[in-house]
């Protein structure tokens, strides 16, 4: 007796489990049962599983009956004319969606040629076995699986034309490539996914060779002239938002040029980009820490009476400031209202990002690299035709990663460029013979290699070099947004230690394990220096061993316990003084016993 489970719950038994599943599937194909239902029979457990719930991953396949596809030529013609729709095919039982469980029972033919009587389904297209992400790549089947996976992940990080209405949008951050191009070697799904009108990369000439060690460890060499022509050039946008809030007691934020008497007023220099209304105009050059919207807010706490009498304004500066280290040109200013009816101002700043040493680039085959050097065009290697590559890519990146698709795209791109046509590189549909034919017709070697001359010495390079065209992407990891160093700088208020993080110009933590390395080397003086960022001198009472009180008015230092004045100054880290304070707060009396330093 086979047990029947509906959505994982036991509902009953039957004598003919296999027959039941068959009839269920037949009913679904007739349209009697919903098309979202899946059913499967487990031989070894003698179980029938029927699933109708949500959350199952399903994929469409063409039904095969008696070794013949149910999708006929006539239907295809009707589809072309628009007389049939996808939904019609599903309703007719020509196409059905299988979930993972039902797929276990199916025998799916990969191509129409392999179709036999045993097959139950056929792929709509061989390319359908990869997902949407991987199908956007070219030659994914020629690469090792993980490389195609990395490649499709890196496509998502590429800078390009992300949307066409970007001029109307106020994204917090956005990146736009200046000259995006449609790839020369394409996949058929590119149009379906809209990637052809939202490209994120450029077709460049690539040479696979070393270049004086400047492209070791996956680095790439870029032609300076190519960058000057606009290769990889991009804009980065950042939108700053401020709102004029209202507070209780009728107080509210004021947008306008702040009065110099306002608390926290920076200096004239930071405000001089502002218009008379306290807001910058579009196309103004701004730098980091510049004010783009002047705003004053009421004080959080009421000030001392003396100050109010002196006529100092009871307001503080709360202006909108460009992030430190960023800047550019004000792209647009949006003045509107928030949901609560407050004034809302958005300022978008655009900054041109020209490729520089350290920026990240990648092909569509998981081959990423950092820009190692920018070389003048006259120093780049050149071919007999006088072609210089835009990018020099290191051949060591190929053997261990086995990205044949990368090499194939170089040759395919070259053929496409010479013939002036797009090359199809869809998964399982690439036509290498055609590429070879195009290359030969243009009078080139069929493996894409050419004799190359050293641009600096003019000597012939002994090996023939693979040179061709490939689609390269600029990824949004830019050095200018990441590099960070500090010698001295801001400290945290509580601990007097350096702040943390790039945005706060912070220090890099020398942690517990790093400390151990210095101990292991016996470098005690270096160790003390590393941990002396918060060094302070603190007066202590010699008799009681507690921190003394400094009375600046009476110019007297005394012990809070014994009121005595036998005080000694002790050098210690401020963090340790905090520890002593914290111990006092938990009723522990940490007495400091002092000894004269030797």
């Amino acid at each position: 007796m086979s047990e029947i489970y509906l959505n994982g719950e036991y509902v009953g038994t039957t004598k003919e489990g296999r027959e039941l599943v068959k009839s269920l599937i037949a009913k679904r194909r007739q349209g009697v049962l919903p098309w979202t239902m899946n059913s499967s029979y487990y031989e070894e457990k003698d179980e029938v599983q029927i699933n109708t719930d949500g959350g199952r991953v399903r994929r469409p396949l063409i039904v095969v009956e008696n070794g013949a596809s149910k999708l006929t030529e006539a239907m295809i013609a009707q589809l072309r004319e628009g007389k049939l729709t996808w939904q019609n095919l599903v309703e007719k039982g020509v196409v059905e969606y299988l979930d993972a469980e039902e797929e276990e029972m199916a025998l799916v033919a990969f191509k129409p040629e392999e179709l036999t009587k045993k097959h139950t389904h056929i792929e709509i297209d061989p390319m359908m076995i990869v997902g949407v992400g991987a199908s956007l790549l070219v030659y994914p089947e020629k690469n090792r699986g993980d490389r195609s996976n990395y490649g499709s992940r890196m496509v998502t990080q590429a800078v390009g034309m992300y949307l066409h209405n970007h001029n109307l949008r106020d994204d917090t951050t956005a990146q736009m490539l200046v000259y995006p191009q449609e790839p020369l070697v394409q996949s058929e799904t590119i149009h379906a996914a809209g990637v052809d009108i939202h490209p994120a990369g450029q077709n460049i000439i690539i040479a696979v060779m070393p270049f004086y060690g400047y492209n070791i460890e996956d680095a790439i060499v870029i032609n300076k002239a190519s960058i000057e022509r606009g290769l990889g050039r991009s804009y980065s946008f950042r939108t700053y938002v401020t709102e004029a809030n209202r507070y209780w007691g009728g107080q509210e934020d004021e947008i306008g040029f702040p009065d110099p008497s306002v608390r926290g007023f920076k200096s004239e220099k930071e405000y001089n980009k502002l218009d008379s209304d306290g807001i910058v105009s579009p196309e103004t050059n701004v730098e980091g820490n510049d004010v783009v919207v002047g705003k004053t807010s009421p004080l959080r706490f009421l000030g001392v009476v003396k100050e109010t009498r002196l006529g100092i304004k009871n307001r503080r500066d709360n202006s909108l400031v460009v992030n430190a280290g960023e800047g550019g040109v004000v792209d647009k200013v949006i003045m509107t209202e928030s949901k609560e009816g407050n004034r809302l101002i958005k300022v978008t700043v655009r900054e041109l990002k020209i490729p520089e040493v350290g920026d990240k680039f990648a092909s569509r085959h998981g081959q990423k690299g950092v820009l190692g050097i920018i070389v003048p065009e006259e120093d780049m290697p050149f071919t007999a035709d006088g072609i210089t590559p835009d990018i020099i890519f290191n051949a060591h990146a190929i053997p261990s990663r086995m990205t044949i698709g990368h090499l194939l795209e170089i040759i395919g791109g070259k053929a496409g460029a010479l013939a002036g046509e797009k090359i199809n590189g869809t998964a399982f549909k690439g036509n290498e013979e055609y590429i070879v034919k195009l290359l030969k017709a243009a009078g080139f070697r069929d493996d894409g290699k050419e004799t190359v001359y050293n641009g600096i010495t003019g000597e012939k390079v002994e090996a023939s070099i693979l040179i061709g065209m490939i689609y390269y992407q600029r990824l949004y990891h830019l050095v200018s947004q990441k590099m960070h160093a500090r010698s001295k700088g801001p400290v945290a208020l509580l601990t007097k230690q350096p702040t943390e993080g790039r945005s706060k110009e912070g220090g890099l933590r020398f942690g517990e394990m790093e400390k151990d390395t210095l101990v292991a080397h016996g470098a005690a003086i270096t160790l003390r220096e590393r941990f002396s960022s918060d060094k302070t001198t603190i007066p202590f009472c010699e008799t009681c061993g507690v921190t003394a009180v400094v009375d600046k008015i009476k110019n007297k230092t005394y012990c809070p316990l014994c009121k005595g004045s036998k005080i000694k100054n002790v050098d210690m880290s401020y963090a340790f003084k905090l520890l002593l304070d914290e111990m006092k707060s938990m009723m522990i009396y940490p007495q400091v016993v002092m000894e004269e330093e030797e």
Partner: protein, 371 residues
């Protein structure tokens, strides 16, 4: 002359080894030996910790994947290292390596001794057992082959059963044993309980040793066991008492003394690391084993062992359970003399390690004769 000098220079253990070498060679050895010594103020503890833990990060976390092999499944890799340094009272998989005396070093003798060692329960010797409802008794049929393998017989088993089952009459014929209750009125439940109890009765061997594998290692027959009982195994005739070891460090300390336990820690650690394909200088492990055993009992490295027993309050508070150590120190009125490394780093002083350990013997103004 040089010979005599060098023989004084080296520890007595190595003094003989250098006799007969040329002066140049001796000098080279001396130089190398000198360079291998650590210097005053070197942080040997931190270096040992790093030298063990860095290779340990490379060992796999896999501890068992030995299905289908004639191997004892033992804890390996990082879990085993943690077990050793945490000084667990009982390892997850206690094992023994039993070597045999020179005259007993044959497969037959090894099998004989293995049969004596393996723990045998009655259920392992039974081929059939049932409740005989007509005669109101339990019937146990013994397996002759199993009995001869375990070197026992029906009489012996009957005697053991009689000792253990006081409430029942034990009778037997050939290879059958009958268990009858002494009580007058028959109770099936009690008879069934007695039968089940009889199955688990210990017959022979050493308690706790559940698996045995006999292997030939070079010229020796080695008995590997799962389960460990060093004291009892060493009493068995034919066992080489010098080479036989257990991986249960506490047991080694108990039976052979703390020095043996110290060696066991070193051996277990280095074996575990080498088995995983990583290595470290043995002197780091010697240091760790010394600190673990120098109190004459095995103490763990960690909160309840070494780190919890450090002299300095700040040092202990820096490691774990900060509040506990601070409050206890406050109650006891402890004084931290700031003699070790970490407390001086906390305070902001020069740590007494490496270059920080050097002090002036004569003060400047004293040397000038001002004082």
């Amino acid at each position: 002359m040089a010979e005599k000098q060098n023989s004084n220079f080296f520890p007595p253990k190595y003094a003989d080894a250098i006799v007969g070498l040329s002066a140049k060679e001796q000098e080279a050895i001396k130089k190398k030996y000198e360079s291998m010594k650590f210097e005053v103020g070197e942080a040997i503890g931190v270096v040992a910790a790093q030298s063990i833990s860095e290779p340990a990060t490379q060992t796999t976390l896999r501890s068992y994947h030995a299905e289908g092999r004639t191997q004892l499944v033992t804890t390996k890799g990082l879990p085993r290292l943690i077990e050793i340094f945490d000084a667990r009272k009982m390892p997850k998989t206690p094992t023994m390596e039993i070597y045999l005396d020179a005259e007993n070093n044959t497969l037959e003798k090894a099998r004989e001794i293995a049969a004596k060692i393996r723990e045998t329960k009655l259920k392992q010797l039974i081929s059939e057992d049932s409740l005989d409802m007509i005669n109101m008794r339990a019937e146990i049929v013994l397996d002759r082959e199993q009995m001869s393998a375990s070197e026992t017989n029906v009489e012996e088993i009957m005697n053991i059963l009689k000792k253990n089952l006081r409430s029942a009459n034990i009778t037997g014929e050939q290879n059958k044993i009958y268990i009858e209750l002494k009580k007058k009125d028959f109770d099936v439940r009690e008879l069934q309980a007695t039968r089940i109890k009889a199955r688990t009765i210990y017959i022979k061997g050493i308690k706790g040793i559940s698996q045995i594998i006999i292997e030939k290692v070079k010229n020796d027959w080695v008995i590997r066991t799962l389960g460990s009982s060093l004291r009892r195994v060493l009493k068995i005739k034919g066992v080489n008492t010098i080479r036989t070891t257990s991986n249960n460090i506490f047991e080694v300390a108990d039976v052979l003394g703390i020095e043996a336990a110290r060696n066991a820690i070193v051996k277990e650690t280095i074996d575990t690391m080498r088995e995983q394909g990583v290595d470290t200088d043995i002197r780091h492990l010697l240091l760790v084993a010394d600190v673990m055993t120098n109190t004459a009992s095995i103490s763990a490295i960690g909160r309840y062992g070494l780190a919890g027993r450090k002299a300095s309050v700040l040092s202990r508070a820096n490691f774990e359970e900060t509040v506990k150590h601070l409050t206890y120190a406050a109650v006891a009125g402890e004084i931290d003399p700031l003699e070790s490394v970490i407390e001086n780093i906390i305070v902001g002083n020069l740590a007494p390690i490496g270059t920080g350990i050097v002090k002036l013997a004569v003060k400047e103004d004293e040397a000038d004769g001002k004082k």
